[in-house]
């Protein structure tokens, strides 16, 4: 009876689990393309917006979209989930990797199995991952230089500044920082970087590390929050420390989360692109890739976005957008 009890319990459990499971739609019967789009993590506004755009494109194109990712910016979890997608034999896998190198082995495996691979938002190591194209929101150089120019305008091009990034492995954030530093070296020799902190896509952590930086560097002139999660965290820290206006804050942020700081005078200007459009473009690019119609150094037609430039193996959404108090209320993301 006791053994029976254990047997019963375990079976009941797994049955309960199985019963809640949604079966796969019979997409294999018809020839609908199955496209998997994986963000760095789910649950942040930026990627929620990207999902909106991706679903819009999927509906327009009549493809099946699977949008899923890990709950934290965990690259090992991403690899594990992509492995599952490989077993599900998707047609195209699009991933925004948390780590450009550790995602490479599983992407190679996908290529070997005949699955097309794209990266978006952040790139994987092109040589070792064998990814075919990278859907980039804007030229990295434009983002890096643009960010520095914004802060330079506000601080007169001199002073100490800190950078709050997401994770120290994210390829996109690292390459923007490279361009930022290059731009500073070329144009603003009186600008000095005094701190670099990671915030792991956690707004609370961004808030904390910015507070620490403000305390450690009382003469700080400016702070860059270069992820959509670290910018509001940094702005909040500056505001709470009573240094709004004294310490200039800028970076990459979503209008929806930055509205109050812009109107509150903490942030004058910040930069982004349209993440909804990025998600939209990724799905379009994926479909064209699956149909072998995506080519290097060309232009492609992406639905409501019109003509999109493909520079080398990068599909470029467009130039970065500047947000100020004049336009920050105009956007749906």
């Amino acid at each position: 009876m006791r053994t029976g009890g254990a047997l019963l319990c375990t079976t009941l459990l797994l049955i309960a689990a199985a019963a809640t499971v949604r079966g796969d739609e019979p997409a294999a019967a018809t020839k609908t393309l199955v496209i998997g789009v994986m963000p760095k993590l789910i649950g942040i506004e930026y990627f929620n917006a990207a999902e909106k755009g991706a679903r819009e494109a999927a509906a327009e194109l009549g493809v099946e979209l699977v949008f899923d990712g890990p709950v934290t910016n965990d690259s090992a979890r991403q690899s594990e989930m992509i492995d599952l997608w490989i077993a599900r034999k998707m047609d195209v896998i699009c991933v925004a990797p948390n780590d450009p190198d550790s995602i490479a082995p599983v992407l190679r495996k996908a290529s070997r199995r005949g699955i097309r691979v794209l990266t978006w938002d952040a790139d994987a190591n092109p040589a070792s991952s064998l990814r075919e194209f990278f859907v980039n929101q804007a030229e990295n150089e434009a983002i890096g230089r643009g960010l520095v120019d914004v802060l330079a305008e506000q601080t007169g091009g001199r002073g100490e500044y800190a950078i709050i990034t997401g994770s120290l492995t994210a390829a996109n954030q690292n390459i923007w920082m490279e361009w930022m530093r290059k731009h500073v070296a070329e144009r603003y020799p009186d600008f000095k970087e005094v701190a670099l902190k990671a915030s792991e896509e956690d707004q609370q952590l961004a808030f904390q590390v910015t507070q620490d930086v403000l305390k450690a560097h009382p003469n700080l002139a400016g702070v860059f929050g270069i992820t959509t999660v670290s910018l509001p965290g940094a702005a909040e820290a500056v505001e709470r420390a009573g240094k709004a206006g004294q310490v200039k804050v800028t970076g990459l942020g979503l209008p929806s989360s930055m509205k109050k700081y812009v109107h509150g005078g903490v942030v004058e200007t910040f930069i982004l692109w349209n993440p909804i459009d990025l998600g939209y473009l990724t799905v379009y690019a994926a479909k064209l890739l699956a149909e072998n119609k995506l080519q290097a150094d060309s232009t492609l037609e992406a639905g409501r976005l019109g003509a999109i430039e493909v520079k080398g193996d990068q599909v470029l959404l467009g130039p970065p957008l500047r947000f100020t108090k004049d336009n920050v209320d105009d956007f749906a993301f």
Binding site: G5, T10, L13, A18, A76, A87, T169
Partner: protein, 322 residues
């Protein structure tokens, strides 16, 4: 008594679990057709190998009445040791050995604190969980090491034939199976293995029976640390990067597998065979749900529910002591 009954005497829970897994598999395979191909399940097992290795090493610790919460952090630390040693010019195989050694030393540290320091294992390993993770971040400054030679990464992605079946299984799975076999050998066929059960059932009585309790515990924690080092090598090969935040939160998955496998958290009862089945159950649940497209968040919830209910099933077997 039939031969079968005699063979499985004392294995009531494990047999029940094994049998329960069959209808569970059948049901999950009905809802997630990809599961019907055993190679898919074998393929997915590569992600659970590290957890499996840690679970096998955790089993004797829990049987002895202790616990080791630091295993996840230790995997991170040993991975960093591996990565940075290699980056500093140490040949990769030596760096891997160094990682295992670092794990053993760290495990011995845990063991010493538990035995000499008389600090409860929960408190010790809670502290070392933070210490090891902190050490990993400190050494690496949160910068990962990647760009390992392709042969190493491919090791983490290669397949071997699971003789005598025609199926292809990931190479790491064999590492796990060897570790599980060694664990079984240790617990069932060695004197110290026997001591583990004695200590777990009644530590005072064991001490009075001249069981070298301190030495046993020290050995178990050192083995757990070495296992973490080995798991770190597997992890780095599989993911292609040595990161300080590797295996974060793994200790919970590990303990889930061990408890699911019938090991009593209060000690005195458990087997590596049960742990192996626990790992299979977790793999089945995770993979099956993954193939069916159930979002990540639901999987965590369901595994928690699974754990609670099997923990309840444990006391139902009260009296069935080994």
């Amino acid at each position: 008594m039939t031969r079968l009954r005699r063979l499985t005497r004392g294995y009531g829970y494990e047999v029940a679990l094994g049998v329960a897994l069959l209808p569970a598999y059948a049901l999950l395979a009905w809802r997630a057709p990809l599961l019907r191909d055993p190679e898919n399940l074998l393929d997915a097992s590569q992600h659970i190998v590290e957890i499996g290795i840690l679970a096998v090493a955790m089993t004797p610790i829990i049987i002895s009445g202790g616990i080791d919460l630091s295993v996840g952090s230790l995997v991170g630390m040993c991975g960093i040791v591996l990565g940075y040693a290699w980056q500093a010019g140490v040949p990769l195989w030596a760096a891997a050995l160094l990682a295992v050694l670092a794990g053993a030393l760290a495990g011995a540290l845990n063991g010493a604190a538990v035995t000499r320091g008389r600090v409860p294992p929960l408190v010790v390993t809670l502290a070392t969980m933070a210490i090891f993770r902190g050490a990993a971040y400190a050494i690496s400054q949160a910068r990962p090491v990647s760009g390992f030679p392709v042969w190493f990464e491919d090791l983490g992605q290669s397949y071997v034939r699971l003789w005598p079946t025609p199926w292809q299984a990931p190479a790491q799975l064999l590492v796990f199976l060897v570790v599980a076999a060694l664990g079984g050998f240790f617990l069932h066929a060695t004197v110290y293995g026997r001591y583990v059960y004695a200590v777990g059932s009644n530590e005072r009585a064991a001490r009075f029976a001249a069981v070298p309790v301190h030495r046993v515990k020290l050995l178990l924690y050192t083995l757990s640390g070495s296992a973490a080092g080995l798991a770190a090598v597997v992890f780095v090969a599989r993911t292609g990067a040595a990161k300080a935040d590797a295996a974060a939160g793994y200790e919970l998955d590990v303990i889930t597998c061990v408890v699911l496998g019938g090991t009593r958290i209060t000690g005195g009862r458990g087997t590596p065979a049960g742990t192996l089945l626990g790992v299979v159950a977790v793999l089945l649940a995770r993979t099956g749900l993954g193939y069916a497209g159930v979002p990540d968040v639901w999987r965590t919830l369901l595994l928690g529910v699974l754990l609670i209910l099997t923990a309840c099933a444990g006391p139902l077997l009260a009296g069935r002591r080994r």
